[in-house]
Amino acid sequence: MTPSTSLLELIAAGFTQVTGRPAPAIALDDDIAGLGLDSLAMLELVAWSEEQLGVRVPDEELATVRTVGDLVTSFSARLDAGAP
């Protein structure tokens, strides 16, 4: 399992946590809005994921997140650098 795969699984779990619905198939190039998450739900997903990973994505970087891949990249960068 690659790091990206495990982060995708985490994001899928976060989707279910936030929405109460089963997660759809999630790919790196999926637009987060296209998954049916509004901006508030996305923030809840980010907050939940950060807590699971023990990282924190800088606020100005969050403002530029559009796709699932953007989020995976942000989480990966924090994990590679050593949390948080």
Partner: protein, 288 residues
């Protein structure tokens, strides 16, 4: 841009409702509490700061974009003796209030700023907490915020004379909340009280003023806005029985919740406020 229907949700509730808990001239924006704890004085202090930022003189022709119920128009015309002041608002209720005040040297248009066409250029431009309506949450999410704000600043540039100053006051979106309850309250205020709008991030404004305006001075006032919201909530609660009786329980509950959310948002750094003094870059389009 918030459309006319969305603007009506925010500002056309009833002028008499807002008159109960705002200051006398009905400033609905952050006051400046440098030397006072009195809301009336603090709102005048705010207008004085912005007057100075815009380098307004009595002979200047001044434009106020998003002029609300006319507090700044009245301050300029009555307190500062400015002879030619024009305000634009998209709210019918606010425009009606300005007309009712019948202020000397003051005119106003009820128009979307994107459709506004001035008859002559302005020496000074002011805009007090209107830029929050320029970009929708959906546009911000799609990465279009800087382009939307730049279009706003370009229009102000086109409407102004060489050497003009622009006094801008804007709420800022700062720290992103991580607590679920706070995320939901900020979202509720965004979508229920101010639909169609979103507060800008400071870095987006810094990017968007270029190439049209040079930033001369910026002053943040997060604590001042927290205090302003506390004053508004105190005054709202002082009129609770009257509000419930005249406009219903839901309106009181909604505005108490909204102002409580704002007090917390400014306290937690989720929101801040900035006052900007901008100078027109006269050769902006020649450099492109």
């Amino acid at each position: 841009m918030s459309d006319k229907t969305q603007v009506a949700v925010s500002y056309d509730v009833d002028n008499e409702f807002f008159r109960l808990w705002l200051d006398k001239r009905m400033n609905y924006t952050c006051a400046v509490f440098d030397d006072t704890d009195d809301l009336e004085q603090a709102q005048l202090a705010k207008l004085a700061v912005l007057h100075d930022f815009a380098r307004v003189t009595p002979d200047a022709r001044v434009l106020d974009i998003g002029c609300g119920w006319g507090a700044n128009l009245e301050y300029l015309a009555v307190d500062r003796g400015v002879h030619d002041v024009h305000g634009i608002t998209l709210s019918e209720a606010q425009h009606a209030e300005i007309v009712r005040r019948d202020l000397p040297g003051v005119t106003a248009s009820c128009v979307d700023y994107r459709d506004y066409a001035p008859t002559a250029a302005f020496d000074a431009v002011m805009s007090i907490c209107m830029i929050e309506h320029v970009c929708t949450p959906e546009q911000a999410r799609a990465g279009q915020a800087v382009a939307r704000y730049r279009d706003f600043f370009r229009r102000a540039w086109l409407w102004s004379r060489p050497g003009a100053r622009f006094a801008l006051q804007s709420i800022l979106r700062n720290r992103v909340p991580r607590l679920v309850a706070d995320i939901r309250e900020v979202g509720w205020v965004t979508y229920q009280i101010f639909p169609g709008g979103i507060t800008p991030r400071m870095e987006d404004i810094v990017a968007a003023v270029n190439p049209y305006w040079e930033i001369i001075e910026v002053r943040t006032r997060r604590e001042d806005y927290r205090r302003t919201c506390e004053h508004w909530r105190d005054r709202l609660r002082a009129h609770e029985a009257r509000i419930r009786d005249r406009w219903g329980d839901q309106l009181f509950r909604d505005y108490d919740r909204y102002l409580t959310a704002c007090v917390r948002a400014f306290g937690m750094h989720y929101q801040s406020l900035a006052q900007w003094s901008l100078r027109r870059v006269d050769d902006a389009e020649e450099q492109r």
